[in-house]
């Protein structure tokens, strides 16, 4: 079968599955089955977090540039699109619904809002990225954190978007939107990582000086991946804002950026499936801990942070490390040729450096 046909069929299946899940999660339910609103909310937030984690993984996991400012770009996307839908959404929807029907107008406007959010966040990413990406390591981290806090405080002072009192936003997001854009983000990042650009990004992560010596324009690639990553964070912000229907700058404090970093480190830095897994685990963990019996439930966040430390102590490379989860991983463990081991710091094979990962794991 030609690869194009294969992919089209796969896409069709994904879209059908998303539509089914969306119907399942809506108020009407699917064939009489529905999901309680609480679980629906957790699933939605998990989907949005997948977008955030996968996009941050592009800049931090694959390019090796440590950013703690992701929440800032999320805020930029959320607020810029909310400005659009709050002040122009209704009017446009009325004038467009004559041409393409009410549902079409509704969808079109939200699509425009997502685009606007992504573009504005990308511009913010460019403005932040060009000066800060000259810095390295912890300095880069703290500067991105600083920019994100400044973005947040600037938004807090714009009265048009509610300022300190918060901003009520119409609800456009449903699971279909989140699902489509989560899949979209994963496909884009997958394709970037497996392209020439991805090779360049990984080479920057491994050794920036060597990459530059090989003729890679490191600044260009770093800024590019930062901008793409910010645009996707903006997209996630749009979906988040139009789902919760209320925006407060408190949702975008630096603790939020930390949360996204925790997701990718937990899942395994530089692993696409790891980021997805991390996002889901971190979204579900505090919710599952609500089930703790009686008096323990007030300690749920204590248990959550203790678990986080324990996972880091016992599995420092994250759940998946840099490997990708695939079905073949379950089926058989391949014997790797001797000289084919990935080499880590100081030329020692990674498998030998970390004592708790077996040879053919």
């Amino acid at each position: 079968m030609p690869i194009l046909v294969k992919r089209l069929i796969a896409a069709l299946f994904i879209v059908l599955a998303l539509i089914a899940v969306n119907q399942y999660m809506s108020e009407e339910g699917l064939f009489g089955f529905g999901v309680p609103p609480y679980y629906g909310r957790v699933i939605m937030l998990a989907g949005i977090n997948v977008i955030l984690a996968v996009s941050l993984n592009l800049i931090t996991g694959f390019t090796g540039q440590f950013s703690i400012g992701h929440a800032g770009f999320m805020a930029v996307g959320a607020y810029s699109s909310a400005y659009l839908t709050v002040y122009y959404g209704q009017a446009w929807e009325r004038s467009l619904s004559g041409m393409i029907g009410a549902t079409g107008a509704h969808a079109l406007i939200f699509l425009v809002a997502i685009l606007v959010g992504a573009i504005v966040a990308a511009i913010a990413g460019l403005v932040v990225g060009i000066p800060s990406l000259r810095l390295k390591g912890d300095y880069l981290a703290i500067v991105t954190l600083g920019f994100a806090e400044i973005i947040r405080i600037v938004i807090l002072n714009i009265d048009k978007v509610g300022g300190a009192t918060g901003f009520t936003v119409p609800g456009y997001t449903n699971f279909l939107w989140v699902g489509i854009f989560a899949v979209f983000t994963v496909i884009i990042v997958y394709n970037i990582v497996h392209s020439d650009m991805g090779r360049a990004l990984v080479s920057i992560r491994e050794d920036e000086l060597a990459a530059e010596a090989m003729g890679i324009n490191t600044t260009r690639y770093k800024v590019l991946s930062f901008v793409i990553s910010s645009a996707m964070a903006g997209m996630a912000g749009v979906l988040f804002g139009h789902y919760t229907q209320f925006l407060s700058t408190n949702d975008f404090q630096f603790i939020r950026s930390f949360e996204i970093i925790i997701m990718i480190v937990l899942g395994g830095m530089g692993s696409l499936t790891g980021a997805i897994l991390g996002a889901i685990v971190i979204t579900l963990m505090p919710e599952l801990l609500r089930q703790l019996p009686g008096d323990f439930s007030q300690y749920r966040l204590v248990v959550y942070s203790a678990l986080l430390i324990i996972i880091m102590l016992t599995r420092p490379q994250g759940i998946l490390g840099t490997r990708e989860f695939s079905l073949s991983l379950l089926r058989r463990s391949r014997k790797q040729p001797e000289g084919n081991k990935p080499v880590g710091e100081k030329g020692v094979p990674i498998v030998e450096q970390s004592s708790n990962s077996g040879k053919n794991e």
Binding site: F66, P131, S132, R134, L135, G137, D138, Y139, A141, I142, V143, L145, G146, F147, E149, I150, I153, V154, L156, N157, A164, L209, F254, I255, F258, I261, I262, V265, L266, M269, Q298, Y299, L301, V302, Y304, S305, A306, L308, I309, M312, L313, P316, Q317
Partner: protein, 305 residues
Amino acid sequence: MDTFVQQLINGLTIGAIYALIALGYTMVYGILRLINFAHGDIYMVGAFFGYFLAYQLGFVTGPSLVGLVVVLLGSMILAALVGMAIERFAYRPIRKYPRMTTLITAIGVSLLIENLFVARLGAAPRAFPQLLQERSYTLFGNAAISKSQILIFAVSILLMLLLQWIIFKTRVGTAMRAVSFNLNSAKLMGINTDVIISVTFALGSALAAAGGVLTAQYNPQIDPLMGIITGLKAFVAAVLGGIGNIPGAVLGGLLIGLAETFVVGYGQNVGVPTTFRDAVAFAILILVLLFRPTGLLGSSVQEKV
């Protein structure tokens, strides 16, 4: 002019607190290259130790100088133990792992302390007992300096001189400098690096706890989340001065304290709202790092191939 002097005094007061906390960040970073995100929470823990000591030892009836000294020293010692425990159980096992792992562990420890305190004590602020007979003295016309401000200046200068003495005149200090220069070489020279790292955490935590108790005298409201934003700004101060550099941390702390106070005091004259108080530290940091990527007093490291 009077208000200017007043702003200067207030700014230096806040700056001295930031400096005390920033010293802990910078010392730990200098030795382990670890951003100890839990350090801001040690400042909070220190304030709470002071609060409980004051209640347990019965110093709440009225101002007493003995009480103040006991509470201050007691909370510094207890916080030093907490700092050593965090290093021993959370940071030591992962010292050799990648930087991101240690960073996430530090964030985890920070969240653990905060959540534990919120779960045990509730998030509502508590009033810290006043151990100092508050009164203010007038200087230069209308500017006033209060007793608690004098206390903050005196204690923080004393502690900084003490730290300087420990680092440059004692054997432990020499060992600390050796470890921060090169951990492996220090080990080869027969220095017990684990002990030195432990001592570094103890010193940093004691300074942060002193900052917590002093702040509580100046502004007697303490809550389990008070360390988040103050800790972050102190960290910014450490980076601003050049992380790993001790005089730099003090300079950075004072600069950020002053900048914040002046934004609140004069910002409105030039169209900057007072809510930018929390942003100004970051703005200064970004500007400085763009021109001096290693901070004000940090030495640049030559990159070798």
